[in-house]
């Protein structure tokens, strides 16, 4: 309860309730402190609040922040079988899909695009937590394969921004099979000697973390992200004790040797750019001996 609760509904709607980065309310609540932040301010601060909370953002916002010049081409996704098991719990799975589509305007949780980062060719695949918790099912698996194939065909780096509760239960074993399928797709990228970079965002868990999300040549995590194979509640129930503060957060994983870099969203693009710059040749033209392309770019 706060003063917002008492506002009439008409007034309330100008305030977003939670991580509503795609809504159109003027003010957004910081998930860490509850403080209200002006939307425009957040937009230019990469959706990181003053307190350092990295809010969940849409794939389009990722692309805008990461691709050179804010320019990208979306990669069309192959059609997939939607409800192989005719699954129903409290709701039909097809109804859940419809609701998620209405909410996000997307067919499923993965969106991929190609463009350049620091003048290097890159394919970025973003998992949208807003679509059924970014859960990994057949559509996401096929999207991953498509993104990897596009990266190989274009001689581009593959960059995956993860956010997922894990495998999509409603697709059961078909979801489980996306673990080996995505790991296979990565092998093609690795064999082509193209960089595979994972950016772990909040939250990434279960079968996603136990497959493609932990196999990057370079592992980057956004600050404070919850990164767990098994969620804290299940572990606490198993060992019957409370987990320490910060357990399974990005900083903890770095300390334990599971990620290379914990990097604020503001620093993310320059960091990825620097890495690609050292692992790949520039997309356009060869470096002349007299004037490396990098320096030309830097001089601009």
């Amino acid at each position: 309860m706060n003063w917002l609760t008492n506002l009439p509904p008409g007034l309330k709607s100008i305030f977003a309730k939670k991580d509503d980065t795609e809504g159109d309310s003027l003010w957004v609540k910081c998930p860490k402190t509850g403080e209200l932040v002006y939307r425009q301010e957040l937009e230019s601060a990469y959706w990181v609040t003053q307190s350092g909370a990295h809010m969940r953002i849409s794939p389009e916002q990722r692309f805008k922040y990461m691709f050179d010049g804010g320019l990208w081409t979306e990669i069309p996704m192959p059609p997939v079988m939607r409800d192989p098991l005719k699954f129903k719990d409290d709701k039909r799975y097809t109804d859940r899909l419809k609701a998620a589509k209405a909410k996000t305007g997307r067919e499923d949780c993965m969106v991929a695009a190609h463009g350049e980062i620091n003048g290097r060719k890159a394919v970025i695949l973003v998992q949208d937590f807003a679509f059924m918790g970014g859960s990994l099912g057949m559509a996401a698996g096929e999207a991953f394969i498509k993104a990897a194939e596009t990266a190989v065909a274009r001689k581009a780096a593959l960059i995956v921004v993860t956010a997922s509760g894990g495998a999509r239960m409603q697709e059961s074993s078909f979801a489980l099979m996306q673990m080996p399928r995505t790991v296979l797709a990565i092998q093609d990228v690795k064999r082509a000697r193209l960089p595979y970079i994972v950016i772990l965002s909040d939250p990434t868990s279960g079968g996603v973390l136990a497959s493609y999300a932990m196999l990057g040549d370079v592992q980057i995590a956004e600050p404070g992200a919850q990164l767990a194979f098994t969620g804290p509640r299940v572990i606490e129930a198993t060992i019957r004790e409370k987990l320490p503060e910060g357990f399974q957060r990005s900083e903890f994983l770095r300390e334990r040797g599971m990620v290379d870099i914990v990097c604020s969203r503001k620093e993310l693009t320059p960091t990825v750019g620097a890495i690609l710059g050292m692992l790949m040749p520039p997309a356009r033209g060869r470096r002349s001996k007299a004037q490396p392309a990098d320096e030309v770019a830097a001089a601009k």
């Binding site: 699954f87 057949m138 059961s172 078909f174 296979l184 932990m214």
Partner: protein
């Protein structure tokens, strides 16, 4: 064959077998005929039950305490088993065992989950729930097999990777991912058999081989029926419903082409006649290996890719 632990739905058989035992104890010529009749009745009853098992009943059969486990397979199917231990990084995990062995005369690497048989061994093997070091040991052995041109046989039987604090700290997720990767990039043939429970990531980490076989009453799922029920219905007691809905039986998964073949079990389940059950698994492994004979490392990798990519793309019955 009389067994020690009866499942709920086996009660009619248990009652009949109890009667038979009582009659036999009294002895006498008239008893013999009666016992024969009862035996026949019990067998029919058992057959009826086991040809109509639902997914939740199969889950219980797959978890049956008397079901053959990894070491039972190793003792019956393999000669000269030399256990190899440890991940060379942290410690040895007895939930996942493995080593060099001879299968039908030929050297192989065999790996699998061992659940343990009694309280003491169950604790030692952590109920077959592997930790990162178990999966890292698996990776080590798979790589060893690749270097020495040996096929890998993996016997999968786990409710899942262990959900513990230490495992998380040491990178459970990374260990599982690497194990999947090791299976898929291996230079030599790999056969995975789901012999009991195929629990989620902990199972797929060893079940990413060229051929994935599954025993008739084994189950393979993305999450345990209880886990799914507590998430989807906030009620773990609805596990029967989620077991059905998730289609976790060997018969369903063969239809989906997620498993390549179903290995028949003796009537009444593997726990009623472990010797026959193990033998049937041996036959199935030999047959699966023979289909991969003569394939180059590139062929084998391509076959895995084709196999796993096809899942969900092509229709199913």
């Amino acid at each position: 064959m009389a067994i020690s632990t009866y499942l709920d739905f086996e009660k009619p058989v248990a009652d009949l077998e109890k009667k038979i035992a009582e009659l036999e104890a009294t002895g006498g010529a008239t008893v013999e005929e009666e016992v024969g009749k009862l035996r026949e009745k019990a067998e029919k009853q058992l057959e009826h039950i086991y040809t109509h098992l639902n997914a939740w009943q199969k889950t219980q059969v797959a978890r049956h305490p008397d079901r053959p486990h990894f070491m039972d397979y190793v003792e019956s199917l393999f000669d000269e088993f030399v256990e190899l231990a440890g991940d060379r990084k942290f410690m040895n995990d007895d939930a996942i065992m493995g080593g060099l062995a001879r299968f039908r005369g030929k050297p192989v690497v065999v790996i699998g989950h061992e659940k343990g048989r009694d309280t003491q061994t169950r604790l030692k093997h952590n109920f077959g729930m592997g930790k990162p070091e178990g999966y890292r040991k698996a990776v080590r052995l798979i790589e060893l097999a690749g270097r020495f041109n040996l096929p890998v046989i993996a016997l999968v039987d786990t409710s899942g990777a262990f959900p513990g604090k230490g495992g998380e700290e040491r990178g459970q997720a990374e260990a599982l991912a690497r194990s999947i990767e090791a299976c898929l990039t291996l230079d030599t043939p790999m056969i995975s058999v789901i012999v009991g429970e195929g629990g989620s990531g902990g199972a797929v980490a060893l079940a990413s081989g060229n051929k994935v076989l599954m025993m008739e009453h084994a189950v393979y799922s993305v999450i345990s029926p209880e886990g799914a029920a507590s998430i989807l219905f906030h009620d773990a007691k609805r596990a029967k419903d989620t077991a059905e809905a998730m289609k976790i039986t060997a018969q369903d998964l063969e239809k989906f082409r997620i498993v390549d073949a179903v290995v028949p079990e003796p009537m009444g389940g593997a726990h009623r006649d472990p010797k026959i059950a193990i033998e049937q698994v041996g036959e199935a492994i030999e047959e699966a290996l023979s289909t991969l004979q003569g394939m180059t490392p590139d062929d084998l990798r391509a076959q895995r890719k084709e196999r796993f990519y096809a899942i969900g793309r092509e229709g199913f019955a």
